[in-house]
Amino acid sequence: MPILQVENIYKEFGKLEVLKGISFSLDKGKTLAIIGSSGSGKTTLLRCLNLLERPDQGIICVNHEIIFDAEDKAVQREAQIRKNRLNFGLVFQSFNLFAQYTVLKNITLASELLAMGEKNRGKSSAVHQRIKEEAYELLAQMGLSDKADAYPHMLSGGQQQRVAIARALALKPQILCFDEPTSALDPELTGEVLRVVRELADKKTTMLIVTHEMAFARDVADHVIFMDEGLIVEEGTPAQVITSPREERTRQFLSRFSNEP
């Protein structure tokens, strides 16, 4: 049963058509990898799902609930958008940790603000305690227990990205999106990030990963989408799309990675 359904998303910037009718669905607990050359619209698609961009056309459903419909102004109100965003988590290419907060505070900040906004804040210290404990658990899961009090600039890129993953997980999103999570990293640091993503896949976290790591996508993804010029050219299992692509454009794209182990 699909947890995410995306129907016919169009997005243009001025005259530039970036997404030209994207439709796909994703089942609960599955990992979807999106591959494609630079400029094909992968980032824009993730930004549309996270409502950082408003699609010009199309519908996004999570758990059969419409969270965005280009025709329906009611779901586009600021407060509604903010609520619906929480269905998704997004891990950015450039981490974007909050510079002035410790690792722990980066993870807890949004949860604390959400808890403050809720009506019944009678037992708020208990709530904050629970938020903190969960953050420590996430840090342990990321292998960063000793970094709770560090500031982002003290961490390596790989560590920062793992904190960013913990921060996204803290809000318990239905679907976690990654935008090339390792492409800003030195090669020797990609492994530690890919390892935690793999662990999340093993735990049946629903994920949508834009990546250039073909070997990783082949191993970890349940389903692969190849995008080119704002369209889905080919999709299927990793074996179909990455190992034996049917479309010429997919083959051309993959040939650039053929010297990979």
Partner: protein
């Protein structure tokens, strides 16, 4: 012998009273300084948001005002703000007497410095990577939460050196208020110069130096305090 002693005493009290009067008049500089900061720091933020508004007429209007204020001398602005209402038969919004002149000067200074601050704020805000804002958005934070919990401190850290510059300039600009006969320290000292006594005027420099020295220490301290993160 006794006469001579008297002369010295007279000179002493003369010295004391001059210094006291200088200190008192410097009080006006200090008051003008703090009143200007109190109002121009927040007003500058509104102007900064105005100049960044997505509603073009607002952005255009704000930018024009900032251009005019930054493009003309503060001294002229003080004169216009003090005299224009009367010349245009608009009554006397400032009231009368010394306090009226002080209010008018404060008003001119606030507008002038708010415009300078707004440009510093704008640069600071626009210099923050959008990723910081977007990370907040994705985490379900409201615009106000993002501004106050994420952006603001990073902006403060970035603009602190230019703000320090501007605020130190303000200390010295306060003496421009004498153009509408506000008896700030330089105007006071010039009364002695007119009577042939030159050192009071020179000594005013020490007042400014001391005040600016304290501010410099304060800003250095703040910069140190914000060194714990990099933005």
């Amino acid at each position: 012998m006794y006469e001579c002693f008297c002369e010295v005493r007279e000179k002493m009290t003369g010295l004391q009273s001059i210094i006291l009067r200088l200190i008192n008049s410097f009080g006006l500089n200090v008051r003008l300084f703090f009143m200007t900061l109190l109002f121009s720091l927040p007003l500058g933020l509104f102007i900064a948001f105005g100049s960044m508004s997505r509603f073009k007429p607002v952005a255009w209007l704000t930018k024009t005002i900032v251009w005019i204020i930054r493009g003309t001398p503060l001294m002229l602005q003080v004169l216009i703000i003090y005299f224009a209402p009367g010349l245009l038969n608009l009554g006397s919004p400032w009231g009368s007497g010394a306090s009226a002149r002080f209010t008018a000067a404060t008003f001119a200074f606030v507008i002038n410095y708010a415009c300078y601050f707004s440009e510093i704020y704008r640069g600071g805000i626009q210099g923050i990577p959008v990723g910081q804002t977007e990370a907040g958005q994705v985490l379900g934070m409201t615009k106000l939460q993002i501004f106050f919990r994420v952006t603001l401190l990073q902006v403060i850290k970035r603009i602190l050196p230019s703000m320090a510059n501007e605020i130190i300039t303000l200390v010295k600009d306060t003496s421009l208020a004498r153009i509408i006969s506000i008896k700030e320290i330089i105007m006071m000292a010039q009364e002695y110069t007119a009577r042939g006594l030159i050192w009071p005027l020179f000594s005013t420099g020490l007042f400014f130096l001391a005040f600016v020295g304290v501010l410099t220490l304060l800003f250095n301290h703040l910069e140190k305090k914000l060194e714990y993160f990099k933005a």
